[in-house]
Symmetry: C4
Subunit: 371 residues, 4 copies
C-alpha cells in the first residue's frame, strides 16, 4: 500500500476541505444567491430525474480485478481522429458569466491547462469566436436550432470558420423545461449577462394561433425541429456532428441512420422533463442498438471518477461534466475548475488502478454489476 | 431552446410562489383548521395507499422521442361522442362548501373557464340542478346507491332531467373507510354544510340484527348494492354509465359484461381501505382485460402533468383530478382552481412536447417504463 | 356511502384519540418505565426482524372485489371442532402483572367479553388453574418443555385437568434471545412478579461442562428438546397440540408427520433471533408444504385488521395478537384490551366489506398481491 | 425458555451499556479525536461500500430449524490443519498504537485470552517478532509487497522465522484509496506511531516519468505487483498463503490456479475503492467458482454473530473482525477487545442455538435467504 500524492504548487490556494465535486457544490451553495442557486442546481418539476441521476450511479457496483499489468496504462481515448488524454469533456452550459466575471473564458483556461475539450454553448455569454481563439486545443460547439434555417446555417458556419472541431446539436429542449424551483426563487437572467452568439438573429414573428390553440403545442412546438431538419443540418455540416439528448434506442438508431457521427446520452441534467430516466440506466440498450463503433458520450449525474468508470463500462466512450464545474467556477474561477478536473482525473485513475483496468478499452461491462 | 410563457392577466392576483399542485397543498395546509385538513388531506388507516398513490407514479420513467412532428398537435380526447379539450376531469368530491363559501359553484366556474368537465357529487353541498344550470359545458353526475331503489331512481332521473351527460356510479364505498386521522383530529361535518341532493330521502329503518351479529357486515353490508343492483341501474339509466372504484381486472370485465360504458380506476384517493394498490400499478392489467375500446379513466394520486401522461401511456383515456383542486379552492376560490387547471394543462403540454408525443393517441405504453 | 358506528356505552371512558393499536402503543410508551418499555416493546439484536414484521405486511396490497353479496356474511372460523367468532386469539405472553395489577385476569376479562380465546403462558403471573376457572369460553395453554419430562408431564396434565382445550408447545426459544435493548435499559423481572405455574419445579443441577465448553451450546442446548421429545409430548397429550415458532416448510412438514394438530407460524415477535424472516413472508410456502387441511395460525406483527386479512389470504386460519394487547392493558386494563379487540374486529370487518370478501373462506390468495 | 448468562469476574469493569459491537463504536466515537475517528471509521469516497457492507448483511434472513440435536455441538473449524475454537480471526490492521498505548499487544492479549488467531499487519506499530513472541497460539502475518523483491523476501522470511503459521498477502491496495473523510478531517499519522516492520527498507527512487504521464497509473501502478509476483511469492513462501481482497470469481480461480491455499473475500472495509460490492453479496459466486475445498474467509462489515452465521452459510469457513476491535481497544484496551470477542462468540452461539445448527458444518446455504 503506497501513499500517492500529486499535490503541486498551482493549487496551493484551494482550501484543503475541497476534495471532491460534492465539496465544491456545498461551497458554491454558500457563495451564490438563492435565485442563482435555484437556476444552477435545480431540476425540472419535483426533481425526480435530478435525484435519479445520482442514485442510478450509486446503485452500480464495480467488480475489481487484481494484479493487472499497468506498464502500458493509459487514460486516452480517440474521438473523430483526435486523441483525448482523458475521457471527460466540458459540457456546454449557457450564461457562465452568471458564476464568474470571466465566465466561459475562466472555464476554458482550466480546460486548456488540463488539455480537456471545451464544448461552447450557443447561449454562452462569450462570443464563440473568442472562445475558439482562446482554445489551446480544439473546442467543440453546441448548436441549438435557430428560428430560421438561415440563422442556423449562419451559426453553424461561424462555428466551422472559428475552428471548432465538432458540432453538438441539442435535440432534447425544443422548449424550456418546467423549472418550479427557479419559478419559486424568482430567478431571471440579469440584464448584464449577454448572449452574443444569437444577439443578431431576429426573433420570429409570433405565430397567429387559432382561438383555443395551445401556445406550447400549436405555437412553439409547431415550429420545433423535426427529423428533416436534422437531415438538413447533417447535409450542411462539414464537421463531426453529434446529437445530444438521446434517451431511447430507437432515436439512437435513427440518428445513426441520419448520418450523425456520435450520440450524447443526456437528460439535460434533469432540467427539462421530470421523469426522464437516468442516463446510465438507458445507456446499455442504446449501445446495443447502435453497435460498438458509433461514439457514445454521456452526461447527467457525473460527480465522481467512479461514475466515469461506470459509464465507460456500460458503453460510453467518454462523458461530459456539467454542473460541478460551475460550482468550482463560482468558488475559485479557473483555478477551481482546474482543481476539479484534476480531482476527477485522479479519481478515475484510482478507480482504474484499484479495479485492475489499465486502459479505457479494458473497462468493459463485466466491470460493473447492479446491486 | 425557446422560453415559452402563457401568463395572462386574469391570474395576476395569484401569489408567484404557487407554481404547482404541491404548492397549493402547502398553502392550503396553512389556511385550513386541523380537523378540516385531516378530513381533506388524510387517508384511511396508516395511509399506506395514500403514500403509494404518489410513489407509484414517481417510480415510472418517461421515455422521450426526439424531433417529432407537432404541426397537428392536439390534447383533445373524445368520450361518449363529445370532445374534451384536455384529458382531465374534475373528480366528484362531497361537501365543497367546507373549503370555500361558494363551494361547488366556485369549482364549476373554474371548470367553465377552462372547458373542463365537472363531475358533481351526490353529496355536493350545492343542489345538482343548480350545478347543471351553471355548467357552461355538460357536467357529469356521480351517484351513490341510495337506501331504496325508488330513491336511487329518483336521484338518477333528476340528474338526467337536469342535463348531465353521464352518470358515474361509485362502487368502492358501501361503507365509510377507517379514517384514523379524522378520528384523532375530531372532525365532524359542520351543521351548516348541507347535502341537498339526498336531504329528502328518508333514511332506512335500522335493521333488526340477531344478537351477536356484526353491525357492519350483517347490518350495513347486508343492504349494500350487489351486481344485480348495478344491472338494474344500467337498465334504468339512459346516459353513459361509468363504474368508479374498479381495481381488479375481473371486476372490470364484469362491469363491461353488465353493459357499463366506462370504468374509473380509483382507490378513492386512499380514503377507503388502506392497503389498496396504487391505481397506476393496476391500470395495465385492467386495460388488457377490457380491450382497447372501453373508456378507462383513472384517479388517485394525480398531481402533475407527467402523472396524466403516465396514466395515458398505461391505458387511461383521461384522468380525474381530486384533492389538489380542493387545495386551490381553499386558497383562492375559483381563481385558484382555474390557475391549477392551467398549470396541469401546461404541464401535460410540456410533457408531450419534451417527450415527442404530439397527441393523446401517440402516448402509448412504450412511452413509460418502470424504474 | 353510509357512516357506520358501533360506539357503545361501555367504552365511553376510553380517550377519543385511541383509535388504533398504534395509538395504544404510543400511549403505553408514556405510561411505562424505560426498562419495562424495553422489555415489552424491544426485539432481539438490532431489531431487524421487529421492523420487518411490520414492513412485510405493509408491502402487500389488497385487491378488492366489488358488489359482493354479504347477506350471509360471517367472520367465524372453526378450529378443532369449535367455532371462533373471529379469527383472532390472544397470544401467550409471560408476566402480565408487569403491565397491570390484575395481569392475565384483566386480559382474560376482555377476552371473555369479546368471546376471544385466551392462550395462557407457562410463565403467566397467574396460576393456570385460576385462568381456566375464570375463562368464560375455553382457553388454550402454552407449554414450555420443563427441565425434566416428569415436570413437563405434570404441567401438561394440570392444564388438561384445568379444562384447557388445546396445548400450544413453543419450540423457538430453547434459550433466550439476545435482547440488547433490555440489557442497555437494565430491565430485570421485579421480585413481586410471580411465575406460579413452574414455581414448584426444581431447577436442574448445573451440568458439569468440560473445560472450554460453551455454556450455551454444550450446557443449555445439550438439554434442549429434540424431535423425540415432541414425539413423546404428542403421545402424552390428549388435547389438540399445536407447535409454535415454525418458520420453515421442512419443520412444518415434520410437525405434521409427528402428529401435531396445528402450527403457529411465529418469530416470537422478533424477540429471539434477530434476522429471522417476517412470518407473512414465509407463510405461503408453509401452507403449500402442509396442504390445505392442517390448521395454520400466525403471529408477529399483527397491528391492523388488514394484517389479519392479509394473513388469512396467504394461508392462515387465524392469527394471534401479541404486544398490542399489552399496550392496551397497561393503558386501561381490561377495558383497554376489550376496546382494542373491538377495534381489530371492526378493522377486519371493514377490510372484508371494502374488499368484497363476505366470509373467511372467501379470503383467498388472489385477495393479496405484493407491491 | 431458559435464561443463560456467562458473565464472569474478569469483565466486571466494563460499563453495562456496552453489549454489542455497535455500542463500542458509539463509545469510541466519544473517545477519539475527529481526525483519528475519520481515519478509523471512514471509508473511501462517498462511503457507498461502507454502508453496503452493513445493509447487505441486514437484507439476509436466517431460516431456523427446530428441535435440533446439540449434544455434539461445536463451534470449531479447522484451517490448514489447526483447529480454531471459533470461526473468527483478528483482521490485520495497521498502526494500532493510534488507538491505545499498547497497540497490537493489547489486541493480542485479548486474542490470547480468547484463543483467537491474530493476524499481524505489515504496518503494525509493533515489530512482527514481538507479536509472534507474545502470541500464545500461532498468529498469522499479513504481508504487503514491498518496493523490491529482496525486501518482500526479507519480510516473508522474518515472518516465517518468527513462527507465524500463515501468510496473508493483501492484493487489493496497490495504491491508497481515496479517503475524502480523512482528507477533510486533516488526519496524518502522528510522528510517534512507528512502522517498525518496514522501517529498514529503503523507499524506491522516484520513477522518471515522461512528461504528461500519470503519477498514479504510470508511476505507482507501473511498479505494482502482477500475477507473476504472486507466483514468485508462492514459490518462496513455505507457509499456507492466502490472498486477501478477492471480489471476483475469476480472480479467485486464478489464485487457486497459482497455488494459493486460501482466499479472503474482502473490500478492505470499504476503504479502498468506493463502489466495490459488499463481500457477502459476492461470496456465493466465489465459493461456486473455487469449489468446496479451498478455505474461504471473509471480512468487511462483520458486526454481529448473525453476520458470521450468514457468511458461514453462504460459503465462508471463517471471518475476520476489523474495525469493531479497534473501537473496543480504544474504549477499554485488552479488556475491551476480550469482551467484544466474547460478545461475538456468544452471539454466534445464540444464532446457532436458535437456528438449530449445532456445528459449523451444519450452517449451509439453506440457512439463509434474501429478503
Amino acid at each position: 500500500m503506497t501513499n500517492q500524492s500529486q499535490q503541486t504548487g498551482f493549487l496551493e490556494n484551494i482550501p484543503v476541505h475541497l476534495v471532491s465535486a460534492g465539496d465544491y457544490e456545498q461551497e458554491a451553495r454558500q457563495r451564490l444567491s438563492d435565485p442563482v442557486w435555484a437556476q444552477i442546481a435545480g431540476g425540472a418539476g419535483d426533481e425526480l430525474t435530478l435525484r435519479k441521476n445520482r442514485s442510478a450511479f450509486d446503485a452500480l457496483d464495480i467488480i475489481p480485478r487484481l494484479l493487472a499489468d499497468f506498464r502500458q496504462a493509459d487514460t486516452g481515448v480517440h474521438l473523430f481522429g483526435r486523441r483525448h488524454k482523458f475521457p471527460l469533456l466540458i459540457a456546454p452550459i449557457a450564461h457562465q458569466q452568471l458564476l464568474h466575471p470571466q465566465g466561459e473564458l475562466a472555464t476554458l483556461a482550466a480546460a486548456n491547462a488540463l488539455e480537456t475539450t471545451f464544448i461552447a454553448s450557443t447561449l454562452a455569454s462569450t462570443p464563440l469566436e473568442t472562445i475558439a481563439a482562446e482554445s489551446e486545443q480544439p473546442s467543440w460547439f453546441q448548436l441549438y436550432f435557430q428560428p430560421t434555417r438561415e440563422q442556423t446555417l449562419d451559426l453553424l458556419q461561424r462555428a466551422e470558420a472559428a475552428g471548432y472541431e465538432a458540432i453538438v446539436v441539442t435535440l432534447d429542449a425544443p422548449i424550456s423545461g418546467l423549472r418550479n424551483r427557479v419559478q419559486r426563487a424568482g430567478f431571471t437572467l440579469p440584464a448584464h449577462i449577454p448572449t452574443p452568439n444569437t444577439a443578431g438573429y431576429k426573433p420570429p414573428a409570433p405565430r397567429n394561433l387559432a382561438p383555443g390553440s395551445s401556445v406550447i403545442l400549436n405555437g412553439f412546438m409547431a415550429d420545433a425541429p423535426r427529423w428533416e431538419d436534422l437531415q438538413w443540418l447533417r447535409e450542411h455540416c462539414n464537421l463531426p456532428l453529434l446529437a445530444k439528448g438521446v434517451l431511447s434506442p430507437a432515436d439512437a438508431e435513427q440518428c445513426r441512420a441520419t448520418g450523425l457521427d456520435g450520440i450524447i446520452v443526456s437528460n439535460h441534467g434533469g432540467r427539462t422533463l421530470d421523469g426522464l430516466p437516468a442516463t446510465i440506466d438507458v445507456l446499455p440498450a442504446i449501445r446495443a442498438a447502435v453497435g460498438n463503433e458509433l461514439p457514445l458520450l454521456l452526461d447527467s449525474g457525473i460527480r465522481r471518477g467512479t461514475d466515469i468508470f461506470k459509464a465507460l463500462a456500460l458503453g460510453a466512450d467518454a462523458v461530459l461534466l456539467g454542473r460541478p464545474y460551475l460550482y468550482a467556477l463560482a468558488t475559485a474561477g479557473a483555478l477551481g475548475v482546474a482543481h476539479l478536473l484534476r480531482i476527477l482525473r485522479e479519481e478515475l485513475e484510482i478507480a482504474m488502478a484499484l479495479s485492475g483496468r489499465p486502459d479505457i478499452r479494458s473497462i468493459q461491462p463485466d466491470a460493473v454489476t447492479g446491486s
